[in-house]
Assembly symmetry: C2
């Protein structure tokens, strides 16, 4: 599959290819392919652009990560497929622990994720998916976590995460940051900071914002005080309401 | 995967399971899983309901199929996974020819589709995917068709179809009917009649409508004369614009 750089939806097709390749490498559940498709439609409706509400959430997320005592970045197959390198960069910049945490865990899947990270940085440290339930308020596979990771974290970054798990983490007293293109999802609503954006665009911006705030830490308290997640989600919802839905404008926006 | 009938999104989860099962049976390309996810988001935004604009398009589609001399129903893996039985019922009710037509053709995929249809009706006749380019105006795999099927058809029903192929069929002078949850897709815009609805809800209604119009054929001309696809697509787009985007209403609509 060769994708022309001139294709108007080049970035979307590159991401789709990364997801398909990740599936072939054994990193992804079939549900991960379907979930990627759901995100494609939301991104299409957001005109495949990072909006102001996402920028504000990225600033708050960077601030929360820098103020954390034990920040943990939770990664699954989709996150690894799309932003493996930025996860490594972010974990160094903050610094933060990376934990592989999979709803549909298999040894093969965890190993494929490890291999992808190893290709970015052979020295990167990854906590494995825990085998025992460690998160209260949820059951089954969702409760599993590494005892060195999420259970001890005060701030957790859980991009592209399941709604039940996000709720359980919030109930366990974690400050929860997510990246989710659906502003109405239970994950988006439950989290403390929701970045409504394509993870492929949001993660590089998040890494840069952490670096910038480290240079000027005086900006951090203000970024957090000013941020209201519910109000921010409402802005994302309003974008969907007020975007062009006429066919002429649509063609300009999307193709 | 057991799905409780009480789950508020039971129907969506059943379809997802059918798509995953179809993938496991070899019927679907990976791109088909991602495409299903895109449809899930649109259906979610349409509140997982069949709206008036879909009913009007179904009426026009039933009329066009009944007036056709050589109607052909083109099926791919996603269509087979979701509405195999209704495709058989529709092909008998009209009657219409069924052609397997796959963008990512493999022998295994065509055989898996045949097996699924055979499970519904062992006597069902399916034209296979042609191996030679028969549709002008497009190239590569998209141009392939069975010489006994689409090339001789006057009306083609091409649910969940690729945009380039839909355009080529329109340019080849076929009256083109599609089912597509994205009212802005090139397939939706190029087709003569676009049913913007979940195929799982639309196909049983289409079968019933064909049966009803056969009883009262005097209704047919009116259904076609009154139907304006562009205006109908605009109604679907307006639904997306005017639907509730507040979180309280959203919860009522979707969960």
């Amino acid at each position: 599959m060769d994708i022309s750089k001139n294709h108007p939806r080049y970035a979307s097709l590159v991401s789709r290819k990364k997801i398909v390749d990740a599936f072939e490498s054994g990193m992804l559940a079939k549900a991960g392919l379907i979930a990627h498709g759901r995100g494609e439609t939301f991104d299409y409706l957001f005109c495949e652009k990072t909006h102001d509400f996402a920028i504000d959430a990225i600033r708050a997320a960077a601030s929360a990560l820098l103020l954390a005592k034990n920040p943990v970045i939770s990664v699954n197959g989709n996150v690894t497929a799309l932003v493996c390198d930025e996860v490594v960069a972010l974990s160094k910049e903050v610094p933060a622990t990376i934990e592989i945490n999979l709803f549909y865990w298999t040894r093969e899947r965890e190993d494929a994720i490890r291999l992808a990270f190893c290709g970015i940085d052979p020295k990167v440290k990854l906590l494995g998916n825990g085998t025992k339930p460690k998160i209260k308020g949820t059951c089954s596979n969702r409760a599993k976590a590494n005892s060195k990771g999420i259970p001890n974290a005060d701030v957790v970054l859980i991009p592209l995460e399941d709604g039940d798990r996000a709720n359980a983490l919030v109930n366990a007293g974690k400050k929860t940051i997510t990246v989710d293109l659906n502003p109405f999802s239970r994950t988006a609503i439950a989290s403390d900071i929701t970045i409504v954006d394509n993870i492929v665009r949001a993660f590089p911006l998040l890494v840069r914002e952490v670096a910038r705030l480290k240079e000027t830490p005086s900006l951090i308290p203000d970024a957090l005080v000013k941020f209201d997640n519910k109000a921010n989600l409402r802005k994302a919802a309003n974008y969907l309401k007020n975007r062009p839905y006429s066919f002429e404008e649509e063609l300009i926006c999307i193709r």
